[in-house]
Amino acid sequence: MKLLRQANLSFVKGNSDKVYEVDLCEVGAGQFVVNFRYGRRGSSLRDGTKTPAPVDRANADKIFDELVASKTKKGYSKSGSAASPSIPATTKAVSEPNASSMSDPVALAILNRIAKGPEPSNWKLSRAVWRAGELRLREAEVLIAQLIGTGDAMLDYCVAWALSRIGSADCIAPLDGITRNTSYPNHVRRMADEAKRQICSDNDRELILNSYIQQLPDWCQDLAKKGPAEAFSKVWFEKLSKKDRKAVQSIDTLYFIDNEHVRPALIETLRTAPLKPNFFRHLRRIFKSAELRGDAEVFGILSARFAKEKHNFVMPNYWGYRGKKKPTVGDSAEKAYSKQTRNYLRGRVWRSLERLGRDKDPAYCEMAIGLLLQFTDDDAQPITSHSTWDYSTYNVVQTYCDQYGRYWAFNNIVARHSSRYQRLSTKLRFDCDRTFNPNENTAGPTEREEAYPKLWDSAPTSLLRLMQESRCERVHQFAVLALLENKAFCSEIDLPILIGLLSSPYQATCSFAFDVVVSRYDAANPDRQLVCALANCALERARLQSHRWIEVQRTFFFDDPEFTAALISSPHSDTRLFARDSLRAVNVSSEKSDLIARLAIAHLLAMSGNESNEPAANEITATITQTFADSLRQIEFETISQLLSHPLEGVQLLGGEVILRHESFSRNPPAALLHQMLGSPHTTVRGLAIRIVSQLNDDELRQSIDLLFALTRHPEADVRNDIRPTVKRIANSDSNFAVTFADRLINALLTPGAPEGVPSHTSRVLIDDLRENLSHVDGATVWRLLQSRSQPAQDVGGVLLSTNVDSNSLSVEELVKLASHDVLSVRESSWAMCQQGIERLRKSMASTVRLLDAKWNDSREFGFKLFREQIDEADLTSAVLISICDSVREDVQRFGCDLITKRFEERDGQEYLLKLSEHPSPSLQLFATNFLDRYAVDNPERLQELEPYFMSVLTRVNKARVAKDRVLALLSREATKSPEAAHVASRIMSKLSATAAIGDKARTIEMMAKIREQYPDIPLPIEIQTVEVR
């Protein structure tokens, strides 16, 4: 089969990028076919044919043209139309590299390899091109530029990469060819873009960047061009946080632009963007670009993220995806950042650093710093260990992996040549050597162990920068050891820099700075700033040294208020105490001490609210109040308010102390400040507020009744308790005050909605402290207190009931109601009143009876006793007794029954029977049966009246057997006496005979038989049949 014509069509629009290839082939003599292939660029294409059977050439040409025309009409365009791929004519006549100018055999070899072109070799051309770029072999530029367009994507990529490092303006045209030609894979075109950006002139770059800015979404184009950076960041993150598609897609465009307006937002994005699909591939591209550009910051950020962040998933091996699409491929990838990808990137970070180091490229230090600065103490991981069996010694061996052991590139930089670690390059890990246990030995390295020490030696300023900026102890240890060897440089470091180093929290750095500084100290001409830095340094021996120096020239040093204030508010306890002790022996003028106090207060206000600052704040407060008490007399309201709103307890206390010592506020504390103090979460501060109030003299306090009232009703218990003695003192000395105050408290008690604990405290104050001043409270108020729903109000009412309320003013109903009150003292008072007003009780027995129905046992007991002993028989009429029995309480019913049996009189019998029979409880119904035999016999009308009662008793289920028997006996007796009684009995029996209880049923049938026998006319549900005689 011979290919005669071919058309390569492609279609690019939006995310769509597809190709359509048409072939015209000769399959035999005079036989032609037209085949086509189509699909996404880069993916496997699908085949088809337009000619099921071969046709002649003319037809084949026609079909070919029609097909191409139809596809072109649909939007496809021609990208190439030759049987052979379009390669720009490569001029083989390459000028041989000038061997004489090249002394470096490596460079020479590379040039030779590139000159040979794409011929088969063990040394791939693309690798040689890449290496040329790495080594910045400018001689290779012409050779490399000629390699563009070989059709080998890898080679094109490497060419673009290398040109970006070594190219000149001449290469722009060929690179343009790559970027314009959509048949090149995207990554190659992107790299060509990158290369163009790197090598073009400044004017051209402006144009290129502008074209990139045009590609940004509309909402940020202007901001990206003109700034400011803050506005761009705001808009950018607003969109990015909503996962705006366009924003996510233009992350790498931002890095192409990379001007001062977009860079801050870009850096922040790189720090925070998730390593997830959509985001990750942009970050990966940026990482490679940064590596190429030597952008240490971006390279460091991304490298550190790859080192610190765990992978998202583990990609199964190749066989798991044979014939299937990988989940990380394409625009709609489901996954990103697999374990394999992460490990590749971690390895790559160190590989690219290592190449720089090996090539003695000064950029090594720059890039390494970029990475090291991204690690902080927070990144230290817990030390882990694993055990292995050592077959040579027959022992279990513990191997440790220390805090930074898992950070591959980091460890390679700082501990490549360490004897303490084993470098496991397959696991990308540094394990501790068997002789080194990181749990026991935490001192850090004692000798230099970093990679490429010579490079570091030549870049001491970089090491100094690490010491100034790094927040990682391990990095400081490395930098100090490396810099110590550079004695000449050390002796030339400026003093301000050293002072800055002294404030470092890391011992190693402080120690380094201290050693350098000691030799420079001149006692004849002491430097306050230096001594101050030493006194506040993290290194103890440095602080002690500074104390010694200060001791010698105490007056000189403490003459400077700023120095003194800095010492007082030192972060270290020993210096603070030293300053306090020393100040006792120094005379400071009042102006200076004012200034010192203010400066120290400013230091305090600047402290963070962290709990660890608490002891420092307390000590500084103590020093200020002890040493500069006089200076506190004129502090402004604003400052005090700021002190009081600080979260630290010690600072708030200082605010309180200032008020106490203040020349005007101590006599007349501003309400706003007191309010601030009382609202503090700290007990001591609230206590201090009470102290301020209590130290006012009584006259002033009497004026501020509102304040005292608010404190007595304060939601915090300690405030209420602290002010209580003061209130009591004033109340005892001034009865007018006491009466007004008590009235307000009572009113407050009657108002619901107070915080928990306040009403009970108020009632205690009223009962315990102000009891003598409550005699004016009238009965109506006491009654309201008693009827209140709040327990404390009821308590107060109970206390006042016996003294403030005249028992005669209460009705019997009210007395009875009080006897059911929940508060014992109230019930007791009500009993006492009942005793006093016994005559009144007797007169209204209807209400008195309800005393027995009281809710509380003790009141009922009192009632029983009262009825037994103090109520005359004359008052206990039958109606009263029945009313007692009407109660639903069994004890009261029993008491009533007892009274009835004791005081029974013949004439009342009928009434008892009739009225008690209506009682719903079985016990009273049984009690009523006692009267049946006496008052219900021979009286058919009575029987009729009692009919509901009989039914009620007889229909009880499994209850009241005795009562039932009695009723049945009565009925059977009475039924035979008169036809009227028989009627009543027959009605009851008719209903009852349906019962399932055999005994009762038998008796009813028996009774009905008897009635039928005697009064055959009375209708009954039975039919008597004579027993058949056989």
């Binding site: 209807a846 109606a879 009313s883 009407d886 719903p920 349906a994």
Partner: protein, 260 residues
């Protein structure tokens, strides 16, 4: 579904020697519904309203057994059993036996010492329970005044039964003015006790108190506000009953002995 009621004071039943007055406090936030009359079939009314009360408080739902104490005991026992299994040696067994006896003694002492506390605690809880009895049930029945009858409706606690007590006007005498409608009345467990004191020999006045509405117009806030969160199933049941009443009904009488 949350319902807000506001009652102008509590419903009260006053029992004297020869008279009883029942005054129900209706929901003042609804249209005025009131009624006043004297009962003439006292006992029947008493028994009927007691039966209605029994419907309200009945709860036939299955209550799981309180097993915490048993489980604690079982756990302890299991430990003992395991200890016994583990004690292979006689010596250990003896030791365990001695320890167990000692433990048992100690427990006995503890029980004896804390018994008064425990009983006081029980008493206190009982007091609390009784004091806030009404919290336990949504007792408030619905009351409807018709031109020819007054009826009470309620649902049982488990929402399984519906009870309705219709009192035709022949149950009352001396009927005062009334206004038809449906309303809720304030009802508490203490009222049930007072109902038990209704007697035929006492004049019993029955009123759905109209005074609350008078006060409502003057806008004073001395109201008892009650918020009841009715379960949806309760509301659904009520609607179902209402719709079922519109259907042709089968009605039948029961002989007392049928429910004996």
């Amino acid at each position: 579904m949350e319902f807000n009621y506001s009652y102008s004071g509590d419903s009260t039943v006053q029992n004297g020697l020869s008279d009883t007055s029942m005054s129900f406090s209706p929901d003042a936030s609804r249209e005025p519904t009131f009624f006043r009359g004297e009962l003439c079939k006292n006992l029947a009314f008493r028994e009927a309203i007691s039966a209605l009360h029994d419907v309200v408080v009945s709860d036939l739902r299955w209550q799981p057994k309180e097993r915490t104490e048993y489980l604690a005991w079982a756990e302890r026992q299991e430990e003992i059993d395991w200890a016994e299994v583990a004690s292979q040696r006689e010596e250990v067994k003896l030791q365990i036996e001695a320890t167990r006896q000692r433990l048992e003694e100690l427990r006995k002492i503890r029980r004896a010492r804390s018994s008064s506390f425990e009983s006081a605690k029980l008493k206190y809880f009982d007091y609390i329970r009784r004091r806030d009895y009404d919290m336990w049930w949504v007792l408030d029945p619905v009351i409807t005044v018709h031109p020819d009858e007054v009826f009470f409706e309620c649902f049982s606690q488990d929402e399984s039964s519906y009870g309705r007590l219709s009192a035709g006007f022949d149950v009352f005498q001396n009927i005062g003015e009334f206004s038809c409608g449906t309303t809720n009345i304030d009802y508490s467990a203490a009222l049930y006790d007072e109902f038990q004191k209704i007697r035929s020999y006492k004049t019993t006045t029955f009123e759905i108190d109209p005074s609350g509405f008078d006060v409502a117009t003057t806008g004073e806030a001395n109201y008892k506000e009650v918020k009841i969160d009715l379960p949806d199933s309760w509301v659904r049941g009520f609607l179902q009953v209402s719709s079922a009443m519109a259907l042709p009904a089968h009605s039948f009488d029961l002989h007392p002995m049928d429910v004996y």
